[in-house]
Each structure stands twice: as C-alpha cells, then as structure tokens.
C-alpha cells in the first residue's frame, strides 16, 4: 500500500511539472498587469487584441491552409508508398526503402531545414508559401508511411486471396478490401501529418523567406522581442484547440477500437502511441 502511495505521488509530481508552465501561461493571459510576474487583475483585453490582430489571423489561416494541403498530399503519397513497400518481396529492397523513409524521421529539424533551403535555392524555387508547403509535404510523408505500413502488413495475404477467390478484380480488391482495411492507418497518418505541420517551427523557419510566416515562426519572432500577453492569450486558445483535437482523436480511436474488439479486451495503447507529434 505504501508503494502505491509513493507511485501516485511521483506521478502527480511529474504531471504538475509538465503542466505548470502551460497553466502559468494561460493564467497570465488574463492579467491586467501586462507581464507574467504580478497578477493585478482579470481582463479579456489580451484576447480582444489577439482577435483584432489582422496579421495574426492571416497567419493562422495560412498555417491551417499549409497544414491541410500538406497533410492531404502527404497522406496520398505516403499511403501509396506504404502499399508499394509492403508489396516488395525482396527483404533487402524493403529494408532499404524503409531506411530511406526513416531518414527524415530521425534527422534533426535543422538539417532538414538547412538542406531543403539549399535544395530550393539550387532549384531556383523562391521562398514563401510554395517552399513551405513542399517542405511540409516532404517531412510528413514518412510518418504517414510508418502509420499506414503496419496496417498494410497486418492485412493477411489470404484476405486479398479471398477477395480474388470470390471474383473481385484488382481494382475491386483494392477499393473494397485493401482501402477499408487500412483506413484507420490512413486516418491516423493524415492526422499526424496535420499536427506535424501545425507543430513545425524549425524547418519552416529555414525555408519561409521574408514575406510568409506560419504561426510558429511568428511566435518565435515575437517571443524574441520579449513578453507580450497576446502570446499568452494565443497559447490559451491553442491549448483549448489541442485539447479538443486530442480528446476527439482519443474518442474516435476508442470508438473504433471498441467496435473492432467488442469482445476482446485489447489494450488501446496503439492509438496513443501514434499521437506524438
């Protein structure tokens, strides 16, 4: 019993550690005083400023647009890639493809950013919306592949044989058996690509040029100038947004898992495993 106590205390301590900075930010977003040291009174003022900030709103819309477009395209390319990789018979080819796939997964952001900057310069692509979008597609593809691939591999080859056996053509097999089967992988791939894009700072920072900014880049440049409670207000908004996304994803995952394993009491760990941006 004593041990139980200790572990609970330890866990609570770690969680406090994780959440104090975030709640600290949100708390001071309501501060009349204008800094993050002394709370002098409650105000919505910083939120009003945030929503009146046209530049900020355009940046938010840009960020969402980049995230949406890049994740859609990355999902398409990545899913096709995963199916292709899985179909490779030779083990060496497979593992070579996977290694190449994972290069961008393990590369530090600065390397990706710097090398893409060189690439765009070499190709004569001007920096801005286009270069940011292309970069986001590029670094999202491997995560889509990694999330779709297990589903493709999980699919027993006898399922495809069964479809063919029952008279399905290649296209019918693909659209009626393969795609529905790997759909959960495709969804989580899309979802992760979306959050990767929203979350990225370092790569965007390198390839964004002067005219175009995403939210992360904007926060960076404002934070370098010092404390502005408009950023606090922004983080509160983003926290709520993230909360909704995570909880929503969690419930979708739980729902689809319970549908799939109504009788098996399988642990729903896989779903959360992929939720790391």
């Amino acid at each position: 019993m004593k041990k139980k106590h200790f572990s609970t205390i330890y866990l609570v301590f770690v969680f406090l550690l994780l959440y104090i900075p975030i709640f600290y930010l949100i708390f001071y977003s309501f501060n009349k005083g204008g800094d993050m040291n002394h709370f002098t009174g409650f105000t919505w003022q910083h939120y009003a400023e945030l929503f009146a900030d046209k530049r900020m709103i355009i940046i938010v819309l840009n960020t969402l647009l980049v995230a949406l477009l890049s994740s859609l395209i990355a999902t398409l390319v990545g899913t096709m890639g995963a199916i292709g990789i899985s179909a490779r018979r030779q083990r060496k080819v497979k593992s070579a493809l996977l290694t190449l796939n994972n290069v961008l997964m393990v590369s530090p952001d600065v390397i990706i950013g710097a090398s893409f900057l060189i690439l765009f310069t070499a190709l004569g692509i001007s920096l801005g919306f286009g270069s940011v979008l292309i970069s986001h597609i590029a670094f999202s593809i491997p995560i889509v592949v990694l999330l779709v691939l297990p589903k493709v591999n999980e699919m027993d080859s006898s399922l495809i044989n069964a479809a063919m056996d029952l008279g399905a053509t290649r296209w019918q097999t693909f659209s009626r058996v393969i795609v529905p089967f790997i759909a959960p992988g495709i969804f989580s791939g899309f979802f992760m690509a979306f959050t990767y894009s929203l979350d990225d700072f370092a790569v965007t920072f390198f390839v964004t040029g002067n005219g175009f900014a995403t939210l992360a880049v904007e926060i960076y440049s404002r934070a370098r100038q010092g404390i502005s409670l408009e950023i606090n207000a922004l983080s509160a908004v983003m926290f709520v947004f993230a909360l909704i996304l995570v909880v929503g994803y969690y419930f979708i995952e739980q729902y689809s898992q319970s549908r799939r394993h109504k009788k098996k009491s399988g642990k729903a760990t896989l779903g959360t495993e992929v939720m790391l941006p």
Binding site: N161, D165, G167, K264
Partner: protein, 363 residues
Amino acid sequence: MVKPIIELKNITKRYDDGFTALENINMTIEPGKFYSLLGPSGSGKTTILRIIAGFTDATEGTVIFEDQKINDLPANRRKVNTVFQNYALFPHMDVFDNVAFGLTLKKKPVKEIRERVLNALKTVQLPGYANREISELSGGQQQRVAIARAIVNEPKVLLLDEPLSALDMKLRKDMQYELRELQQRLKITFIFVTHDQEEALAMSDEIFVMNDGKVLQSGTPVDIYDEPINHFVANFIGESNIVPGKMIDDFQVEFVGKTFECADAGMRHGEKVEVVLRPEDLDITKPEQGKLVVEVDTQLFRGDHFEIVGYDEDGNEWLIHSTNPVRDGKKIGLTFEPEDIHVMRFGEKEADFDARLEQYEED
C-alpha cells in the same frame, strides 16, 4: 469412368531459391466427391490447393478444369472457391456483407443477394447472424461464415485449407459430420487439406497421402488404411506395428524368427520387406497358444480400450489394443489372422503397387 472436373498433369512447383515444393503431381478429381489431401506440414498439400485456386502458379505442368487449361486464368475468374485456414473474413464488414461479397461483385440484384445470403447462412446453421460483426463470433461461427461465403457463389469445387485446425476437439468432430453432410447435400466437389489422418479417414471418399512434395498413395480411406504402400503411410495413417521381415514365398512371410501365412504375393523369394500389423488386429491369448510372445511393458486405459505396449524376444516393440487389461511384466501370447498381415516392399511406387495387388488378387 466419370468425366473428371479437375486434372493436374505433371505439376511441379519450384521456388526461386531452388526449393521444390511439388514434384510431378498427377491428380484426377471427379465431380461430387470428397477428396482429402493428407500429409504433414510442408508436404505441399496447401500448395496444390493454391495452384487450383490460382493464388500461385505451377512451375511446370497443366491445370485442367472441365477440359480447359486454366494455368493462366486469374483466381477471380475460376469457378472454385476457398475456405481459408484462418478464414480470411473481412474484418471491416459484418457477416452479411462478407457472405454477400462475391454476389455483390457480380452485381446480382439486391433481392437475390439477400435471399441467397440468408439461405447460405441457414445452410451453415447460422440463421439470424447476418448483422453480427466478425469480431463478435466464436472460432466455430467464423468457420461457418467462411464456408457460407464460399458456397453462396455455388462453386463447382470447394477448396478447404485445414479449416478445422483452429477449432477445439469437440467442435472439430461436430464440424466433420457437418462438412460431410454439407458436401453430400450440395453434391459439389470438396478438396480438403488436412494433416489430421482421423479427419481424412472420417470424411473422404478418396485420400491423397502426401510427403515431401509427392503423392505417396491415393485411394479410399479403407484401402489406404488396410494396405499402406510404405512405412511412412503405415505410420502416418492409424497406428501400426512395423517389423522387418523376409518374403519366403508367395503368401509366406518370415518375421521375429518365425514363418507366417499371409495374404501378400508377387515378390521375389527371400526379398527383405516390412510387415505391418495393426494394434487392433492383435488378440491376446496364453503364451503357449500365441503366434508371438511379448512381455508387457506399459498399459494405458483409453476409455474404450486398453493400449498395451510390449516387447518380443528380438526387442521389437508391439502395440496392442485390447478390451481387457493385462498385468505389467507378464508374458502374453498374440494371435492374428493371415489377412491381418500386410507386407510392404521397400521403395515400391504406387503404380507398381497397384499393379501387383491387382495381379494376385485376380488369381
């Protein structure tokens, strides 16, 4: 002779790494019969099924379906359906959609599909399960859905790839009856792959015993049980006492130092052979009245009989099935009839074996 529905001619399957899964397989499958491909794992039986279904190509040889060569016909256009070992039910569809899959692809009218699917589910004794999710079904129920999904398409041949191997003993016995009954009702050909000799003996009209990519022996269950061609078949099918022997003359064989009358002939005089005696053919008697004398080593009660292991003076092990118990360490006599003795030649091919049998049985 009935016109065959499937013929395999000189089928060989070799993999890129040089492994030969099948070697010169010839098979004739007649309509409306229950066939079993019986053999240990790795014997190539599933490969034959996959070649018939069209999931894999034969390296050499011809696959003929109703007089048409179908080597190049893709799986989705063959008039055979498969019940897969792991059932391969589509997890994202419910029972109805799984069973309806083949008919939906053929764009049958909705009403007809519905009728036929419900009928098929009734046939496999799962009425009322149409809207269940696959994950809600037990292994036995999944098995039935897999069968329904295949037979709803009214295939001419149903291929079953060890469909009972994942079920527990009792369910398996029940399903053996049901499958046999189903086959007789539908009057279509079943080709059933199994490594379980009891299953094959119980259900089949004809069995192909396989090992190492070759068909060792084919025939009715009774023929194969009574007259196994070689040591492997004798051992694999049923329980056997196999002892070395010598052919003295036609209908006379010597083993354990004595000469016995037997029902086999057509071999060279003095030829070294192997002698098979089934444990249930051995009767226990007093030592002085026995054709053979063995000393009892162990005895197990099997419910309907006792299983006794003993050793003769040469050290050969003898397995005896008896309704009455004996005492450990006791010497007992064994008697048997001449027809209970089955003599096997070393390295005899099935064709020669059949020819020899035919020759002296006519005499």
